[in-house]
């Protein structure tokens, strides 16, 4: 118990916010692993008030103002109740009686801690240097909420089908299985508003907690599958941009996470240009040792680059992470080889996971690049035969620029394009032309791209009456060197 108060006094006297936050953290520091236990057993419900008063108000090494001491008094009162619940839950967990661990009441008691801390700030009693306390209360509120919801879901499953059906009664009232987490989102949002609305000068402003809290909210909203709510956060950040410090002035951890989430949001909105910029920043500034974070960033950066720059990840990059390798390697190989059959198979095999990660609809467009590669192969294969046509400058390889549609059809069939069959063993040339037309026309869904250098995959035109595709003499396949 003493170590806690020593830390508290040191933190208060040196204005060390992070140290201060450890005193109300549900995780005991490594130096003092039994801290919560000692705190909980060091006093009891009857002498708690006296003990706290003694520690906070009459402590000779502390010089807290009366209001401040009272606010901390509230915080530690709530914290005391919380430690009781947490220790009981953890004990049940370690004694392999996980069902008896009452995470829901752990959540509720931690929410009380959050409220006490919140009141400290809303009453302008706590100074801005203490904001790591806000990080701690927000962070663990989310964690306990998830645990409580998981437990509620598990106990519902245990209690059998009949009961589950009764629960479904509320399907109309949208009773959710994430009750606590939704509540947590509301609480964290309160903190966000608390920081956003601070009017003190920047040196002493809660605005420095803005991005951490925003990230926490993103995390929660993503888990709740209510991503559109994240846009509200972005909007309010943008609206108050003029009197908020630059993002670059924040700790790098806050920056990277924030860029990652806003990058993913842009990605989901099909704003691939911004997504590329934001995710690239996140990738480059991310701590190299944080392999999981890098993997998360790449999960969205790879499909983005595929669309914006038609660039596929290198083998080395994919091999840095088994997950990325498993997810993307088959697709990338198929695209490089222009193997439509393999591409479809890979897309189907990974569909569930791609959908879960929300990249399916983007990866699907890799097919356009694949077809471009296929047409390019047809073009290159034909170049020798037609060498005589070219008048030829020095070093210029003669290329046959007129390709019969039936040759392209044959190539498509070899690649495994089943959809071009007309159902009677022949080829539906109209469909082949349609695929070619799409390659010539810029990718129909890339209309939002602004920075994309080359929007069309192929230059040329279809002369339908003659049944040929006429390709541009120079740079028929932009960006591929042909």
């Amino acid at each position: 118990m003493e170590a806690l108060w020593d830390d508290f006094a040191t933190a208060q006297n040196t204005c060390n916010g992070y140290l201060l936050a450890t005193t109300i953290s549900p995780e005991a520091p490594a130096t003092d692993p039994a801290r919560l236990y000692n705190f909980n057993r060091g006093t009891n419900a009857y002498s708690l008030q006296t003990d706290l008063r003694y520690k906070l108000q009459y402590n000779p090494s502390l010089h807290l103002e009366k209001k401040e001491a009272a606010a901390w008094h509230e915080v530690f009162t709530a914290f005391y109740a919380f430690t009781g619940k947490l220790l009981a839950a953890e004990e049940a967990q370690t004694a392999s009686r996980p069902r008896e661990a009452d995470w829901s009441s752990v959540y509720d008691s931690w929410k009380e801690v959050l409220s006490a801390v919140y009141r400290g700030y809303s009453g302008n009693v706590f100074e801005a240097w203490t904001i790591p306390c806000l990080y701690v209360v927000g962070k663990y509120l989310r964690i306990f909420a998830i645990k409580a919801d998981e437990q509620a879901a598990a106990s519902q499953r245990d209690s059998g089908l009949a009961f589950g059906e009764l629960q479904e009664e509320d399907a109309f009232g949208a009773a959710s299985k994430n009750e606590k987490l939704e509540d947590a989102a509301r609480q964290i949002n309160r903190i966000f508003a608390l920081c956003l609305g601070d009017r003190s000068p920047l040196e002493d402003s809660r605005k420095w907690a803005l991005y951490y809290t925003a990230n926490l909210l993103f995390k929660t909203y993503f888990r709740l599958n209510s991503i559109p709510l994240s846009k509200n956060i972005l909007r309010s950040l943008r609206a108050s941009a003029s009197d908020t410090p630059e993002l670059s002035a924040y700790p790098r951890a806050h920056q990277v996470t924030f860029k990652y989430y806003s990058g993913v949001i842009a990605f989901l909105e099909e704003d691939y240009a911004s997504a590329e910029e934001l995710l690239t920043f996140a990738y480059e500034s991310c701590e190299r040792r944080a392999t999981r974070n890098l993997e998360l960033v790449l999960m969205y950066l790879i499909p983005t680059k595929m669309l914006t720059a038609h660039r596929l990840p290198t083998r080395q990059l994919l091999q840095t992470s088994p997950t990325l390798d498993r997810l993307f390697s088959p697709l990338c190989t198929a695209i490089k080889r222009a193997d439509l059959r393999a591409f479809n198979a890979a897309l189907e095999a990974g569909e569930d996971e791609f959908v879960k990660r929300r990249i399916y609809l983007t990866l699907e467009r890799g097919r356009d690049i694949l077809l471009r590669n296929l047409f390019r192969k047809v073009f290159i294969a034909g170049e020798v035969e037609d060498a005589k046509v070219d008048g030829g400058g020095v070093g210029a390889v003669a290329k046959r620029t007129r390709i019969p549609v039936r040759e392209i059809a044959a190539a498509l069939r070899m690649a495994g394009a089943t959809e071009i069959d007309d159902g009677e063993g022949g080829v539906d040339t109209d469909e082949v032309e349609c695929l070619v037309a799409n390659a010539i026309y810029k990718d129909s869904n890339l209309q939002k791209l602004t920075i994309c250098c080359e929007q069309n995959h192929m230059k040329g035109y279809i002369a339908r009456d003659r049944g040929i595709v006429v390709l541009s003499k120079t740079g028929a396949f932009p960006g591929t060197g042909v």
Binding site: A162, E165, L166, E168, E169, A171, F172, N225, I227, P228, L268, E269, E270, E351, V355, K356, R358, Y360, L361, E364, R365, R367, D368, E419, D428, D430, E431, E433, C434, L435, V436, A437, N438, I440, Y441, D443, S444, N445, Q447, Y461, I462, A463, R464, V470
Partner: protein
């Protein structure tokens, strides 16, 4: 004494005592007590030399034992009394159940159960186990959260009984007669519950009129304005026929909305509910009333999730097509995530998925083939997409084909067939021409000497490119009329 098997275990405990209590079934017994072997063993062990405790002499031990035995006996007696009463009650309640079980509605049954409970309470003794005699009964109580109150009261009764004031039924009975048959709860409890204005449970309607127009509720409805299940079934058939014969959407929509309301206030969620919502969704779709259509789809999704049978294949397909229309990628992703392997194998869902994938890759050729081949009422949804996709396809065609293409080719590619049921090669040409002219393509149409109509694609790029951007920008998400 007839016992149901679930109580045999408890009955065994009755052998623990055949006490000296005066009004016991065999009143001839005097102070002579016949202890069971278990009890005898217990006493013997207590006096055994091995278990002798220091500081506890024989006299004290005797005293303690006596006290213990008397206490146990009392408790056992109280138990058995309550049990006898309970068994009597059980007979009553089972006879009720056999008559009440005919009514299939959960809510109706619940109501009857209420009435029954009050009867039992007038008999004064309602043991706490009563509620558990059938699974259904206890579940309903859990659902309404009502039994807590009763349980509490019963507990009070038990405590009262166990207090020793009336350790046996006969004494209680005497007391009761002295007071002129007063129930232990002197409050006007049954009536207060019936009259209670804030009843939270579902109500059961009594209205027998089949047609009823929709009125938005602002207060709990009176039962006589709500149609019960059988009447609603009749109503659905009536409305369906009226729709077939008269095709008056305002009337039908109004009627269906009132049916939906009646179902909601009575908490009816069964196949009829699904049918009502499905019918309304289809009719709304036909009339392009997307607001109602969406409301129905939301409910249907919840109902299918409760695995109430219905046409989930059809409506899943609609949902995909609708999301294609709104171009909402988040929704689409969620929708794909929700699809099960079984869903994906259903033909209509497959068709919808193919439509999605064709449009995602800009394959207009395939899309328009699928458009002509839509199962169920998918064509109504695709109608909303088709104009916009035609413009998009024109933009592609204009960019890719040079110098010109025949009008027939465009008509074919964009699925202008005149009459879909009897396709003729040139029947769609006027339609196609009209479409092109509407979108500013008129200057690029040329009739050749041989009668062939050609379209100068190369020159029309700019026109269709502009139209395309505009067409995709204006998607009204809510789709309200």
């Amino acid at each position: 004494m007839q016992m149901s098997p679930s109580y045999t275990a408890v009955a065994a405990r009755q052998t623990l005592h055949r006490p000296d209590a005066p009004p016991a079934p065999e009143p001839a017994r005097t102070q002579k007590v016949s202890w069971t072997p278990g009890v005898r063993g217990y006493v013997q062990r207590a006096f055994d030399a091995d278990s002798a405790m220091i500081g506890v002499d024989l006299a004290e031990m005797q005293q303690r034992l006596k006290a213990n035995l008397i206490k146990t006996e009392r408790e056992a007696l109280a138990l058995s009394n309550a049990q006898n009463a309970h068994i009597a009650n059980l007979n009553a309640s089972t006879s009720y159940l056999s008559s009440g079980a005919k009514i299939p509605e959960r809510s109706i049954k619940r109501k009857n159960e209420d009435l029954e409970t009050t009867d039992a309470e007038e008999d004064a003794i309602t043991p706490p186990w009563k509620k558990h005699n059938t699974n259904k009964g206890s579940m309903e109580d859990r659902m309404t959260g009502k039994s807590k109150k009763q349980d509490k009261k019963q507990k009070k009764n038990d405590a009262f009984r166990a207090n020793g004031l009336g350790t046996n039924a006969a004494v209680l009975e005497k007391r009761k007669q002295r007071f002129g048959y007063v129930s232990p709860e002197p409050s006007s409890h049954p009536s207060s519950r019936n009259d209670s204005p804030e009843r939270t449970g579902p109500l059961v309607g009594t209205c027998q009129i089949v047609e009823k127009s929709y009125f938005r509720l602002t207060a709990p409805p009176a039962p006589d304005t709500v149609r019960p299940l059988p009447v609603l079934e009749k109503a659905l058939n009536l409305i369906r026929n009226k729709w077939k014969n008269e095709h008056n959407y305002n009337y039908v929509c109004d009627q269906l909305k009132s049916m939906r309301q009646d179902l909601t206030v009575q908490h009816i969620q069964n196949e009829l509910t699904v049918k009502v919502y499905e019918s309304h969704a289809r009719i709304a779709l036909e009339m392009k009333d997307l607001g109602e259509y969406n409301q129905c789809q939301t409910q249907l999704r919840a109902l299918y999730k409760m695995s109430i049978p219905g046409r989930s294949e059809e409506f899943t397909a609609y949902r995909i097509l609708y999301t294609v229309y709104t171009c909402n990628r988040t929704d689409m992703n969620n929708l794909l995530a929700d699809l099960t392997l079984g869903d994906k194998q259903k033909p209509a869902v497959q068709h919808a998925l193919q439509v999605r994938s064709a449009l995602a890759s800009g394959n207009y050729h395939k899309f328009f083939r699928l458009y002509l081949d839509a199962p169920f009422m998918g064509a109504y949804l695709l109608d909303m997409v088709v104009e916009r996709e035609r413009i998009a396809a024109m933009a592609s065609i204009c960019k890719a084909y040079k110098p010109d293409v025949t009008l027939r080719f465009i008509a074919q590619e964009l699925a202008f067939f005149g009459d879909v049921d009897a396709p003729e090669p040139d029947a769609g040409l006027p339609q196609c021409l009209e479409f092109l002219c509407q979108h500013g393509g008129e200057p690029f149409v040329e009739r050749k000497e041989d009668g062939d109509i050609r379209f100068h694609t190369g020159k029309a790029i700019a026109v269709f490119e502009g139209q395309r951007a505009a067409a995709f920008r204006s998607v009204d998400i809510k789709g309200q009329i």
